[in-house]
Amino acid sequence: MSGTAVTMVNVQVDGEWKQFPKGMRLIEACMQSGKFIPHYCYHPKLSSPGNCRMCLVELGMPKMTPDRKSVLGEDGRPELSWSPRPVISCATEVSEGMGVRTSSPLVEECRNGVMEFLLINHPLDCPICDKAGECRLQEFSVEFGKGESRLLEEKVKKPKRVDIGERIVLDDERCIMCSRCIRFMQEIAKDDVLGFLNRGSHTTLAVYPGKRLDSNYSLNTVDICPVGALTSKDFRFKMRVWFLKETKSIDVTCGTGSNIVISSRENIVRRITPRENDAVNSCWMPDSHRLNFHYLHSDDRLKEPAVRGLESPVAWKTALATAAEKLRGSRPEETAVIASARMTLEELFLVRRLAAALGVRNVDILPRPQKGDGFLVSDDGNPNTSGAKLLGLATGRLPEIAQAIEAGRVTKLVVLGEDAADCGISETALKSLDLLVAMGFLANKTTPHATVVLPSSAWAEKRGSMINVKGRLQRLNQAIQPPGQARDDWEILRDLIALLAGTNGLHSIEEVFRQVAAETPALQGLTLSRIGDLGIQL
């Protein structure tokens, strides 16, 4: 880091002196010291309104002499005078000589009190609440609650099942008025549509009259809502969260490569949520991207290999042998390979090997320029254009290849993970090809004309790596199994190359990556595991 130096200040946390950068929020300093501070309204990426009062701690300030010097104790450290009044740690910034007590009878009493207040008007409908299992109110009740209700009166009634947006339902009775959603919409999504109505205990979250919570970032409010007040229509009542398996991966809908958690159960992806990575997407992701997974389980999935003229199902061996046989000995100028920048680095590396085995120059990927939103939707609709470029596969020759196919000069085509129809190749031209090998996971306009269909895996079903538009190398992880006979793309390619050029000794994805790294100066010394969960800037 260059520029202004960070001033460090000494702060006593539960009796131990530690150093923190000046201006850091006290709650963060405590958490960094391993002292958990329960909180609702505080969020590391949002401003601190200090409204929930769950993070109250005891604060000490250095005792001062009349000439404003701090009084030092025997240990040479400032002597502290403790305020009888608790303070919120979320909006207090650390300063020199400050002291904090994160657990004491007073602090416990404060937490107990706030929990009791939050629960008296809460509907306690956990059995039917989607947030159950990941609800902060539930979590802290167990830790800091009394376990009995002293409220004898009726609870406050508020609107339930309020349709506030295209993708979100609000239950006002569950809302604890932490204002996280409001602040997110103001400060991050820059679409200030949420606010509170009424006063006191009748305070009610609502959208401004005539407005809807329809921003392409609206679902982030569901993630940060500490309770089940905001729920996703897509996920509502689908699954208890504690049954979900969580897999860390990345979004492949665009070049940003937002870090995600894939939540799945029994081979079905149930939801995608953003995973914090300050170098990429902070804590957020666009709705359009997180909901872009239902096709994983669509009827269009290719599940079995197919060979034109043979009765399906055909064995993988037969399908690959057919493709290899028809490709073998073909003249390079009559052959073309169209790959996809939605493929992983490992897969694209094998595409390059395949092209080399065939000796073809006619290789390219399909570019996907688009209008981004200046935030997390990138101008590039492909997640791995940088990877394709790094491997020399983004040749820009696609228009030329398409023309050659239309003109009949190219008669053998391998299409990997794309639809030839999207590449400017007409159906007539596809029909008149001598050979069309199509690898992919969804049926498209190309598949009906394919000589050989090779069903592969979607992003949630495999491992590998990609490089985002900013040059960050990141990892995909496998959450579920591919359907039917579908196989991992890199294995299909490896087997095909082996049939064409002899075995290549690649037995695992790690080995493929090692090969990529060995042949790519920018990746020198890297391994798949070294990329880590947060990726590596190249």
Binding site: P49, R53, T92, L118, I120, M177, R199, G200, S201
Partner: protein, 447 residues
Amino acid sequence: MSALHPTPHPKERRIIFENISKPGYAADIDTYIANGGYESLKKAVTMKPSEIIDAVKAANLRGRGGAGFPCGTKWSFIKYDDGKPHYIVVNGDESEPGTFKDRYILHQDPHQLIEGLAISAFATNTRLAYIYIRCEFPHAAKIVWKAIQEAKARGFIGKNLLGSGFDLDIYVHQGAGAYICGEETALLESLEGKRAYPRIKPPYFPAVLGLYMKPTIVNNVETLCHVKHILRIGAAEYARMGTPGDGGTRTMCVSGDVMRPGIYEFPCGAVTIRELIFDVCGGLKPGRTLKAVIPGGSSAKIMRAGEVYKIKGKGPDGTMVDKDLPMLDVVMDASTLQSVGTMMGSAGVMVLDDSRDMVWALNNLNQFYAHESCGQCTPCREGSLWMSKMTTRMLDGGGRDKDPKTLQDIANNIAGRTICAFGEACSWPTQSFLAKFPEEFEKAARS
């Protein structure tokens, strides 16, 4: 009938209320000038700004809005030449139950406020001021607006006021109807056009990050009026009227079970509770005895008739000794009331006689606070309504054994743990009623 008695009680000294309800006195500028108006401002513009602040400090003027903060000290938080715009915001939200003094100034003597405000602005290099008037005073807003226009037309405010080279613009802003708008930071939010949610302090102290995040002074209507009189009378003379820590006069609003409720003005520390009730206000209603007094607006802790407080005072040999101070002998000034565990607050004195049921009285206050909690922070939002529901149930004959203890716990879990002082305001009544009248709450709990 006016709330101000036509002939002042001998103990009274009317400075702020001098012209209130005076026959023939009108709110227009000619009347004001004919009664010596704007002379203090003329004097002010010949003084150095720092001299004015020193005078206000020497006068021992404390804020009259409730918190009693020393006014001169508050002003000196503003750096005269920091290159930033400064604002003065006049708190005319007057909504504390039992408090009804500012309304008389706003309706009947607006130029007194404008003059005080102009002096304050001159002293603190403030070019823009707002007078925030609660929405329930629509007529006052019109009167003050008109007064501003008049003062501008005569050159008392506006560009180059009184040829001093100093510019001042004043605007009236009408509130939207919430008690919390009187809390100074909520008021600033409201003035900025937002929901009146009090700000967290730190970091949003008005003097540092006030209106539009600029250094801002928020003062009560009456406080600023006093400034005019400090310059008129002279700081030393003004200070001498009051007690060492509390200079000048103080208006009081007396309501409840006395023969002559109304507004009064005394030199600070001039009356005891006994004098106020039995002498100034004509005593209790026939056949009634005194039960309790809430001395400083609804938030102030209640005092029980017959109580004797232990306070520190000078003994005959000059050393500090414990002294007994009977409730009726408590002097109505900030430090004495504080030393007996309550406060002068907004000087809204509420008198309760033996016809009053204390559960009923507390429930009345609880309902007000539950209705007025802004709802921003958890303890006050949930606790204020819960307390109110409990006292309502107790009053309706549904009391349970544990109620007093639960009420006490709720109040203890609010006070000191909220964003703004409303937390204390709404829990002090419960805490003090329970402490002072336990038998009534125990009885209601058994019903």
